[in-house]
């Protein structure tokens, strides 16, 4: 099925193969580069699940990410090297909800695509190779644990959530990954790397038939697997704890505050809620808001300040933060401004201006093949069409924005995570 979107100059061709695999092709004329992304609806949060009528399985934290690392091993060698030898730039990532493998190349695209489809669909692990990976991932975990922004975020998630696996870092810990064996990796691959749970996106100037035939060949008819997932007991909208604070090797105090929002359940409603949430925080504290200008000129925030609205399976939250001399002063100012906006509403001109600006920046995102492919794959798994954003934007009103702020950006929903520089060891 082909859809065209004249307002943004894009089109997309969608196919469902007999084995259940979704294939989406976004044609891009005049580009030298072609980008392919193969994703599964399986991420760091999918730790507890059951296959069919089987028992509930509890897998170690970090396993989806570990599996991502090990998928590059094939019987013929490392797929990363095979792709790189062809000049492709391959990589992969694991988020809370999805795992994606991708490459971009200017030559030998179909050969590279075949390598991608093959190494992701055919697992090949040995006990030795699984054990060896612990050294590499252990180093990766050590590296991110030294990253203050990551620590601040991790601690915020643990303050916000009580039951949700959103509390757990995607890579797990050195301890949790020590329980991973070749067998657990095979089990997880079987559960989540089946074509009906996956999606292939290609962005570029390509021949559709060739892609469909390659994707069709590489997946012999696999029996459909039904997997049920458990994201823990339902979360209250109040945070688990209000504040978490620690010291690290940082130059100045940095903070992140989060506001728990009701979870979304897919479809265009989720997409609309996502655009609405982003617009609402932009109205409240985006770079052109009066609040941002005031906090910036008072030296309470600097260009490191940012905010975002994030939707995870069974969880949603607004978060904001950056470097500051006084985290509580920033948070208090935000809460006061949210209260004012909730009571007084938003000026129509200001609102229209921001809506235009938001349209422009979302459109700008379509320059990036990576961004297109990831949006398409996420939307596929959550059941909406990301290219309908201009129409969905049209449906959002000023009242919706005020209501989002009134309902969500309140003190009761809020937790704050602060990282301070290390105290001087020797007092003067």
């Amino acid at each position: 099925m082909m859809m065209t979107y004249p307002r943004i100059g894009e089109s997309i061709h969608r196919h469902t193969l007999p084995n259940g695999l979704q294939v989406c092709i976004v044609p891009k004329k005049d580009f030298r580069r072609t980008y392919a992304l193969f994703g599964t609806s399986y991420g760091g949060m999918d730790m507890r699940f059951k296959i069919g009528d089987g028992e509930w399985l509890d897998t170690p934290a970090g396993i989806a990410h570990y599996l991502e690392h090990k998928m590059f091993d094939t019987e013929e060698g490392n797929a990363l090297q095979m792709l790189a030898t062809n000049g492709a730039e391959p990589n992969a990532f694991t988020s809370n909800a999805i795992t994606c493998y991708y490459f971009s190349s200017t030559e030998k695209f179909y050969e590279n695509l075949q390598i991608l489809l093959s190494f992701v669909s055919v697992p090949y692990f040995t006990e030795e190779s699984v054990e060896k990976e612990q050294g590499i991932i252990g180093q990766e975990i050590g590296m991110i644990e030294d990253n203050p922004e990551w620590q601040c975020y991790k601690r915020l998630m643990q303050a916000l959530y009580k039951n949700s696996p959103a509390r757990t870092p995607i890579a797990g810990s050195v301890e949790s990954i020590s329980h991973i064996t070749a067998q657990t990796l095979y089990d997880c691959h079987k559960a989540f790397y089946n074509p009906a749970n996956m999606c292939l996106v290609v962005v570029g100037d390509v021949e559709e038939e060739k892609i469909l035939s390659l994707a069709g060949e590489l997946f012999p008819d696999t029996a459909a697997v039904t997997v049920e997932r458990d994201y823990g007991a339902e979360e209250p909208l109040v945070p688990n704890e209000k504040e978490t604070r620690c010291q690290m090797e940082v130059a100045m105090t940095t903070f992140m505050a989060g506001f728990k929002c009701p979870p979304q359940h897919g479809g265009e409603a989720q997409m609309r809620n996502n655009l609405l949430g982003d617009l609402a925080i932009d109205v409240l504290l985006g770079e052109s808001s009066p609040l941002y200008a005031r906090l910036y000129s008072e030296g309470l925030i600097n260009s490191s300040f940012g905010c975002s609205y994030d939707l995870l399976p069974g969880a949603a939250y607004v978060y904001l933060g950056g470097d500051t001399p006084n985290p509580h002063a920033v948070l208090d100012a935000i809460l006061a401004e949210a209260k004012r906006v909730a009571e007084e509403g938003v000026d129509e001109d200001y609102y229209q201006r921001l809506k235009n600006a938001n349209f422009g920046s979302t459109l700008k995102g379509l320059n990036s093949f990576e961004n297109i492919a990831v949006s398409v794959v996420e939307a596929q798994f959550r059941g909406y069409d990301p290219f309908r954003f201009p129409e969905v934007f049209d449906s959002i009103t000023r009242e919706d924005v005020v209501a989002f702020i009134r309902d969500n950006l309140v003190a009761e929903r809020c937790a704050i995570s602060i990282i301070d520089p290390l105290a001087e060891e020797e007092a003067e």
Partner: protein
């Protein structure tokens, strides 16, 4: 280069025509010598200019103007290209085809860019003191924040030690002390000089034709003062000391960061680019394959080559106890390149990677702009196609010679505190 022409004295426009993007990119950079005395002044300048113009005197009115142009973005940039410091603005705005009201956006964005350079918000004839003070603090915070990313810190410390007596050792953002000493009057005085005496490099990438872009920029920069242009001093290449120097610093961290630097005596740039790729420039390279995959010593290990200075560096995150093994292994891998110990697929992969990244430059506006600024700021004049042809002509012997010309200069290691015991 054919696509670069002199628009006004000392003002060059590089016009890159492309219909395929959703946006247009327009940028302007003053090219100045990187010097300890002026680095902080230069770095502070675009940040202060970005705070407001005569017409839009504060952030709120400036943001409102940009929002009205469908979220056009104008960001200030400070880039270090060899021993040159380039300061200015990069703007990006949606292409006219997608403007819901059919508006033309290039002209108003160019006008705003010109205002940011030429008509700043002033108070008593100098920059607004509150803006200068605020941005000084932000710049100081930015310099201090380099410590937050431990590998960045190790890389910066390596350059400070290795190039302590060269201009290249000066940080992109200058230093804390010089920043703290800047007054609004001193900055305004510096601004006048830099504006009149520096080369201005302009870039456009998008669907508008050259004539339209030239017209918009001529109008926007009509009042640019043009004084006596100062020639940019040539960049210096140094030799390695008789024996390598070793530095260690401690921080409260889990993973150690190793940073190593070599001096490359060769003038054969294409061969050195390939030697670097074989050594540690790709995920197929010797460092990745051996230090990470074979020995599991690290999560990452990669190398890069700064052609204008002839400096090769390696960045690597390791457990502190593996320091000696890692240093030895990294040296051994560079020696392997010098010995010609590589398989055909390694060189094919390096070539293919380079070929892919050079041909796909035209697919990314920002990367393309940065490539051309890098060329124009360091007095090289090579299109991606020309560079590719030069790489394809390199023989294995030239790669061996290039790698053999590298001498280890400095090793910097950032380690955890417990490890010191």
């Amino acid at each position: 280069m054919q696509n670069r022409s002199e628009l006004m004295p000392g003002v060059f426009l590089t016009h890159l025509s492309a219909q395929k993007f959703k946006t247009g990119l327009l940028s302007a950079h003053l090219v100045t010598p990187l010097r300890k005395e002026t680095a902080s002044l230069n770095a502070l300048l675009p940040a202060v200019l970005r705070r407001g113009t005569a017409k839009y005197p504060d952030m709120e009115s400036l943001s409102a103007a940009l929002d009205t142009l469908y979220g056009a973005q104008i960001d200030y940039t400070v880039r270090k290209k060899g021993e040159r410091q380039c300061v200015g603005f990069v703007s990006s705005f949606i292409d006219d085809r997608y403007a819901p009201g059919g508006e033309q956006l290039l002209e108003p964005v160019a006008e705003l860019l010109g205002e940011l350079f030429l008509a700043p918000a002033l108070e008593n004839g100098v920059f607004v003191p509150a803006y200068v003070e605020g941005e000084k603090q932000n710049l100081i915070d930015g310099i201090r924040a380099i410590r937050n990313d431990k590998q960045d810190w190790a890389d910066v410390r390596l350059m400070q030690e290795m190039c302590a007596k060269e201009h290249y050792g000066v940080l992109r953002l200058g230093d804390e002390m010089s920043t703290a000493a800047i007054t609004p009057a001193a900055l305004y005085d510096h601004y006048g000089k830099v504006l009149a005496q520096s080369r201005l490099e302009l870039y456009y990438c998008g669907s508008a034709d050259r004539q339209r872009v030239e017209n918009a920029l001529r109008a926007a920069f009509a009042n640019l003062p043009r004084g006596e242009m100062k020639d940019l001093p040539a960049m210096e290449k140094w030799a390695a000391p008789a024996a390598p120097r070793y530095f260690t610093e401690e921080m409260d961290i889990t993973q150690g960061k190793l940073s190593m630097g070599w001096r490359c005596a060769t003038d054969d740039v294409p061969a050195m680019i390939l030697a670097n790729l074989l050594f540690g420039g790709t995920s197929n390279a010797k460092l990745f394959m051996n230090v990470r995959e074979k020995l599991s010593l690290c999560y990452y290990a990669s190398s890069s080559f700064a052609r204008s200075k002839g400096i090769l560096t390696v960045a690597c995150g390791i457990e502190p106890k593996n320091y000696d093994t890692a240093v030895a292994e990294i040296n051994a891998q560079l020696q392997a390149v010098a010995n010609g110990e590589w398989e055909d697929w390694e060189l094919d992969g390096a070539m293919a990677t380079m070929c892919s990244s050079l041909t796909s430059l035209q697919d990314a506006q920002g990367a393309q702009e940065n490539y051309y600024l890098g060329q124009n700021a360091t007095d090289t004049d090579e299109t991606p196609e020309e560079l590719l042809a030069a790489l394809q002509a390199v023989t294995p012997q030239r790669i061996r010679d290039a790698a053999a010309s590298c001498t280890l200069d400095t090793v910097f290691f950032l380690k955890g505190k417990e490890a010191a015991v």
